[in-house]
């Protein structure tokens, strides 16, 4: 049976930025290596999910605007190739935004890195791919960033197009193959099985 690599934006970002050990720890779900920033980020995401579910609006940190048929923490897994799955959890997705004639992804970030930096990455392309493969029509993404230390917010808007999706998938396949090969060569998948057991 072919070993399948489950790629996510988080694990591949760690891998491609040279943080190989963190990428492996994350993939193998070694939570004892979680940083304070990761813990705070998770807590904030939980709070924001609750805000949207309770009110149907964006969290107050992001302006509180009403959302159009929002879904929260939607987990999507798609099978890309025989050795590669792509997985993502979309913080919030507006199904039908009238002025876009399509959907809008809302991605929340915390910490010190601004939304502009995230906008340059491949996360929007990955999430757009996941949504398209499930029959949705995302047209745009709002990347919200909340700096919990300074209590400041910023927003970057990204339009979704075919080139961005192609670039994202190329990046996913390249990085995933590298990490997958490394894990095979070092027998790391067995540790995941042991951890599950």
């Amino acid at each position: 049976m072919t070993q399948v690599f489950r790629a996510s934006h988080t694990v591949l970002s760690l891998w491609t930025s040279g943080r190989w050990q963190e990428a492996i720890n994350y993939y193998l779900k070694y939570s004892q290596y979680d940083t304070q920033a990761m813990i705070e980020g998770r807590e904030l995401h939980k709070k924001w999910e609750g805000d949207v579910k309770a009110t149907g609006c964006l969290p107050p940190e992001f302006g509180g605007a009403r959302l159009a048929w929002p879904s929260t923490e939607q987990k999507i897994v798609i099978h890309l190739t025989e050795w590669l799955d792509l997985v993502g959890i979309i913080d919030c997705y507006e199904e039908l935004v009238q002025e876009l004639s399509g959907g809008r992804i809302h991605e929340y970030k915390s910490g010190v890195i601004s939304s502009t930096t995230y906008a340059r990455g491949h996360q929007v392309g990955i999430y757009a791919t996941l949504l398209l493969m499930t029959g949705k029509h995302p047209k745009q993404a709002y990347l919200w960033h909340y700096n919990q230390h300074l209590k400041t917010t910023d927003l970057s808007i990204v339009w979704i197009d075919e080139q961005m999706i192609r670039d994202a998938m190329e990046w996913v396949e390249g990085a995933a193959w590298e990490m997958h090969s490394y894990m095979m060569q070092n027998d790391l998948y067995r540790r995941l099985e042991v951890a599950k057991a």
């Binding site: 302006g63 906008a119 990204v158 197009d161």
Partner: protein
């Protein structure tokens, strides 16, 4: 008024302009080019103002918009942080540098640069390179390492005493895909 930009016409005007050395009529070519430039620049400034208004309406904290071929940034310029001088003793030293321009004594200032450099090194002054002109007035500057402050902020959950967020006036900048990306 209708403005049409005909790139062939621009090429011709640019070619015709060189005639100004021998014929005054060539002046018209330059006038047309410069007028077009001015109108386009005015249009871009209006577009920027409109982008700023529309962006702030969507959200007062918007920072950038990214489409297939265009990058729009709404950003402040200059350092994001500054040091409150009364608390400089509390600021971790690795978060900033201090530089100064000093006045060279009369007896030394007329010497060749190498000798002046030697004099400064002899009195224990490390000399940093600058493109400024005559260093007549003492000019001491604090240079904050914003990335180091960001790391501190991330680790400790707050700014160190003495480091303050700098108010920044924001403006819109527009870049085409392929131009250097901006890190905000």
């Amino acid at each position: 008024m209708i403005i049409s930009v005909d790139t062939d016409q621009i090429k011709k005007l640019a070619e015709d302009a060189k005639g100004i050395y021998t014929t005054l009529e060539a002046e018209q070519a330059l006038i047309k080019l410069l007028t077009m430039q001015k109108k386009i620049e005015e249009g871009i400034e209006v577009a920027k103002k409109n982008l700023e208004e529309a962006g702030l309406k969507i959200n007062p904290n918007f920072k950038s918009v990214r489409s297939s071929n265009v990058r729009i940034y709404y950003r402040g310029y200059g350092s994001r942080y500054f040091i409150d001088e009364q608390y400089v003793g509390n600021v971790p030293p690795d978060l900033f540098n201090t530089t100064a321009e000093i006045e060279i004594p009369d007896s030394i200032r007329i010497k060749p640069i190498d000798e002046i450099h030697g004099y400064l090194l002899a009195i224990g002054q490390k000399v940093t390179k600058s493109k400024k002109g005559d260093g007549e007035a003492l000019n001491i500057k604090r240079i904050i390492n914003s990335k180091a402050v960001d790391s501190f902020l991330s680790e400790k959950g707050g700014l160190p005493v003495g480091v303050v967020e700098a108010p920044q006036k924001k403006t819109i900048s527009i870049k085409l895909k392929g131009e250097e990306e901006v890190d905000l």
